[in-house]
Symmetry: C2
Subunit: 152 residues, 2 copies
DNA sequence: CCTTGAGTTGAAGTCGACTTCAACTCAAGG
DNA sequence: CCTTGAGTTGAAGTCGACTTCAACTCAAGG
């Protein structure tokens, strides 16, 4: 079994495009040694880092936060399963919160479907405070509570 | 009670920035009449459209799909509560699917935290086929199933 | 009548996560 | 030795959903 992987190999094994891997490296999420001919060679442990990155993204965490999380890994030794478990566990709260908000939206939507009101005031549905983390792009504006006013 | 709203009024009541309202209009999501001085005047019914847009975005639907959905509304008359209920109901499946994927991710993450493996192959966690609709930006690449290979 | 705030437009900028491109060099197989 | 595929770089492009800007006009109140 080979010690290190070329970028093409890491790409195939991780399912992440080479261009994305180079991008992650620029952001400091992963690292690679170089051969005499300046090609990247990845330690096998980098595979786990890439796995962590992709999983974290599914949880809705930005690359910048993932970078911060990865920095908490010990850099003297190869991270242990426990290190990875600790990191993964740190996203648990976010995931729960995301699921909670989405479930609430579903319940509210069902209520709204019942009454057909779709009013921003009467329904709990339209609840600007409840920003779903990382749902859309751009800055999520903090909205002033709309004045009590009916819709139509 | 006034018949129509200025863009500033609609913005305050809907919690959506005037620039976003103009953007929605360019995309054909909402409409406005014009005064002699070329200012927009919104019918009160537009408030409900804006509410629908924001709710749909929380479900993870793109503006383009929202536009398509809005086009199915009757344009002869002001949409009835039933019309809105039908539209809202059409997102239900997506919302369920999103919640399902997130819940699966949570369960898998718990399993992973238990074993600390964080392996792309052993865990069901890293499951490229299961793209969470509209989670990140950019094209979601369809990944080839990674070869059976251990991580470290 | 004057000022001020609200509105108008088209063009350009922003943000995050990448991809694409051009112009190279290097590695491996026949 | 030659070819071909894989790798390298920096710069620019892309996508969706907006925001910001400059240079205006218009509306309302005192």
């Amino acid at each position: 079994m080979q010690e290190s992987l070329t970028i093409g190999e890491l790409s195939v094994r991780s399912g992440v495009a080479p261009s994305a891997l180079r991008y992650y490296e620029r952001l400091g999420l992963i690292r690679a040694d170089r051969t005499g001919g300046n090609q990247r060679r990845y330690a096998r442990a980098e595979l786990r880092r890439v796995a962590f990155i992709r999983i974290s993204q599914q949880v809705g965490v930005s690359l910048d936060e993932i970078r911060a999380a990865l920095e908490s890994l010990p850099d003297a030794r190869t991270p242990s399963p426990q290190d990875w478990a600790r990191l993964s566990a740190s996203w648990r709260g976010r995931l729960d919160e995301k699921i909670r908000l989405l479930s609430k939206l579903r319940d509210d939507l069902d209520g709204c479907i019942g009454c057909g009101c779709l009013s921003m005031q009467r329904c709990t549905l339209y609840n600007p405070g409840d920003a779903l983390g990382g749902e859309g792009p751009g800055a999520r504006l903090m909205l002033p509570r709309p004045a009590a006013d009916e819709v139509a």
